[in-house]
Amino acid sequence: MLPQLSVYGKACDTPAIEHTPALEVEQVVFRYSGMPRPALEIDSLRVMPGERVALVGPNGAGKSTLIKLVAGLEKLQSGEIHVYGNPVLSCMHRVALVPQRSTVDWQFPVTVREVVMMGRYVHLGWGKRPRQEDRDAVDEAMKRMEISNLANRQVGELSGGQQQRVMLARTLAHDADLLLLDEPLNHVDVATQELVFHVLEDLCKKTKAVIVSTHDLGILPVHFSRALFLDRQVIADGPVEEVLTAQTIARAYGFEFHGGESLSKWLNG
């Protein structure tokens, strides 16, 4: 509890180390208490700045676990995780998380503007009120996600797509370098999905990196530069066009393809 006390709101004094991966995972084994086998075992994984990585695999494959370990929602049990060259959790500013929808209390009475402002809290800390620069960042983020007209609405009144725009706007206001999105596309309309990816692609032109967990294999070739198939360990990892094969999908999801060795048409984009 004490280290967390000291991290919240403290100015980040550990600058990104140049020419290091955005994310580096080494020898990580993670086991939920009471479970016989590890939920996740990763020998070595590197994500470079500018990469857009799709995290794919069946339920229970460890996609969320990996995201939680990087965001600090689960404690590292063994191995090491580095973010832009610094140990995980040493700099909360650098990692932003869009959690799964179900972990958020959408009925809680907050406005869109208040939620987007939560992205600035990491820069403020205990008891500090938002400054002008924070309000500007929030306005900018809402404009980018095309939700400025919803600013004073309650988040509970919005559609699933609008809510997801709010969450990404919060992440933009956070101004992190490594973005983690845990199944952000569930219950999202096509227009929002396009906007989300457009914004993510823009971010990755700079030095940022994005990791998105998804079940929607159809979007992989269009929106990602790399696919990482997980099933408690890395099954396949590489450029989407190389990795997205019938064999990989069958291995990751544990089933046999019935239509021969070729993917159905929708997967080839």
């Binding site: 509890m1 967390q4 006390l5 991290v7 919240y8 709101g9 403290k10 208490s33 965001a71 600090g72 929602l73 959790l89 909360m92 990692v95 932003a96 998380l97 959690p99 972990t103 958020v104 209390d105 009925q107 809680f108 009475p109 907050v110 406005t111 208040e114 939620v115 402002m117 939560m118 809290y121 990491v122 403020l124 205990w126 008891g127 309650q154 988040v155 919060r170 956070h174």
Partner: protein, 276 residues
């Protein structure tokens, strides 16, 4: 009319009672919004019940009942915090088992040391028995609650709405929950004097429940809840003076009436919007 309002205020113990009611009601109403929207009603009720043995032990030891309640309340807040940290059993089950046990212990101790009359004062409140020292303590508690909620408003907001994001930015939701439990504990101690152990839950829940029917934004819900709590304290107080009924129940019933009126108003408004 003015005379009718002023008459009871000629007695200092009655003025003290009225002020006590307003102070406790305000503190409860401020926390009420968080208790309602975070779903902590059961925790608040358990807290009120678990404090009973503390009050009785203080009575037996001949020290201030207020101090006894305070110590018991803080211990209870820590207890609830610990119960919710460990996995396994569902939190509300663990709390239900533990704190009905404490309440039973309180009743048992009470039955050994006092007559039934004293029992009703603790269970249902004794607004006219508020001492000057208690009043100061209640004022301090109300100020602590208001200042804490103002100061930690954004931390309360983010841990309630999205605990995952909260952890990701290094802010422990458990720590904030502990703080909130302590504030509820303090407030319960203040409110027990006014409405008693059994009815405290009404002051913790109903103000924000009624306000949430009429307002959408959290600051509005808190503000409106405070207005409701103060109105029902004053109305209930006069009702109790002139109709000679128990003050705690008069206050709570007024609050319930306000809730019902808000409910009817909101239902009519919805119905009219639909038929337009």
């Amino acid at each position: 009319m003015v005379e009718w309002l002023i008459e009871p205020l000629g007695y200092s113990f009655i003025v003290r009672g009225l002020i006590a009611g307003i102070l406790a009601g305000t503190a409860c109403a401020v926390l009420s919004a968080f208790i309602v929207w975070r779903g902590m009603a059961f925790v608040g009720d358990a807290m009120a019940h678990a404090i009973l043995p503390g009050i009785v032990l203080a009575f037996m030891a001949g020290i201030s009942l207020f101090a006894g309640a305070l110590v018991a309340a803080i211990l209870t807040a820590v207890g609830i915090g610990l119960l919710s940290r460990r996995g396994g059993m569902k939190e509300d089950t663990a709390i239900g088992v533990m704190f009905t046990g404490f309440f039973a212990l309180g009743i048992l101790l009470l039955s050994k040391v006092t007559s039934y009359q004293d029992l009703t004062h603790i269970l249902f409140g004794d607004i006219l028995g508020v001492a000057r020292g208690d009043l100061i303590a209640m004022l301090v508690i109300m100020l602590i609650v208001i200042v804490a909620v103002l100061f930690f408003y954004k931390e309360l907001l983010v841990t309630s709405f999205d605990p995952g994001h909260s952890v990701a930015i290094g802010l422990s939701p458990e720590l904030v929950r502990y703080g909130l439990l302590l504030l509820i504990a303090l407030t319960v101690v203040a409110a027990i004097q006014v409405v008693g152990v059994v009815l405290v839950l009404a002051l913790l829940v109903t103000p924000a429940a009624a306000a949430s029917l009429l307002a959408k934004r959290l600051p509005q819900i808190i503000g409106l809840g405070m207005v409701f709590a103060v109105i029902s304290t004053v109305v209930g107080f006069y009702a109790s003076y002139y109709a000679d009924v128990a003050s705690g129940s008069a206050i709570v019933l007024t609050l319930t009436m306000i809730f019902l009126m808000a409910f009817v108003y909101q239902s009519i408004r919805k119905w009219m919007m639909r038929s337009q």
